[in-house]
């Protein structure tokens, strides 16, 4: 009969092999989860960052944290952090798509309306430039200011259209908003009626 002395090292070896196998499995699972997280994110990151940049940072932080845990040998923590990322990415893709649709709608509205305002202003300025006298409430200085405002707005509108055509909806909408504000300012200075859609919201 073999002594206990024989079994102790055998059991230790078996235990060590089991622990190593278990650690290796965790490492592999964490590696797979991190790769899946990175792959899912890299496939859509550019589009998400374009529309919801503030929310996109959370995913980068999550992947970074998973990698840091992995490098420290904390495979369980790395796995836990990484495995939720693909679902988070899916949610962000949906949110980005919604934001994209919202911006496209805003642009469509703007591009249908702002040219009408600019045309109306140009028409009035052209006629006022031919006038021998100016109407009540408008002097030469105010008229020159309105002309300058119109030129600025018209130029910026061209830039907004170029930005949208170039895929930068955020910049296009920001420029369009400035154009609208400038057009409202000029129309008001000229005593013109501002379209309801562009009228500033009442205060209070």
């Amino acid at each position: 009969m073999k002594s206990k002395k024989f079994w102790v090292p055998v059991l230790l070896v078996v235990f060590a092999l089991g622990a190593a196998a278990c650690g290796s499995a965790k490492k592999e699972a964490a590696t797979t989860a991190i790769k899946a997280a990175e792959d899912s994110w890299n496939a859509v990151k550019a589009e998400v960052v374009k529309y919801i940049p503030d929310q996109a940072k959370g995913v980068d932080d999550g992947i970074k944290a998973a990698k840091e845990n992995f490098d420290k040998g904390n495979f369980d923590a790395a796995l836990e952090t990484a495995k939720v990322i693909p679902d988070r990415v899916k949610a962000l893709v949906a949110a980005a798509a919604a934001k994209k649709a919202e911006m496209a709608k805003a642009w469509e509205e703007m591009s249908g309306g702002l040219p009408k305002m600019l045309d109306a202003i140009k028409s009035r300025l052209d006629i006022l430039s031919q006038s021998r006298k100016l109407p009540a409430g408008l002097d030469k200085e105010k008229l020159e200011g309105a002309k300058g405002g119109y030129e600025t707005a018209a130029k910026m509108w061209e830039e907004a259209k170029a930005a949208f055509a170039g895929g930068n909806a955020t910049d296009a909408l920001a420029k369009g908003k400035t154009v609208k504000e400038k057009a409202v300012e000029v129309m008001t200075a000229l005593g013109m009626q501002v379209p309801a859609a562009a009228a500033p919201a009442p205060k209070g």
């Binding site: 509205e109 249908g112 309306g113 702002l114 009408k116 305002m117 045309d119 109306a120 028409s123 009035r124 006629i127 006022l128 031919q130 006038s131 021998r132 006298k133 100016l134 109407p135 009540a136 409430g137 408008l138 129309m187 005593g191 013109m192 009626q193 379209p195 309801a196 859609a197 562009a198």
Partner: protein, 67 residues
Amino acid sequence: MAGEEKKQGADAWDATQWHVVEKGETLSKISRKYYGDPNLYMKIFEANKDVLKNPDLIKIGQKLRIP
């Protein structure tokens, strides 16, 4: 301007400028009101040729575009 009324309609972006003709008004008077110069009345007439046949004949309550 006071006479330039709000355009009520489906298109909230419509920037057309309107004037509703009041008693005693002529195109010259309206031109002076908006442009400061009564001699520019033909600008208004040209913009309203669909409703005006004669620049001397406008009716009270008529809605005119002011370009």
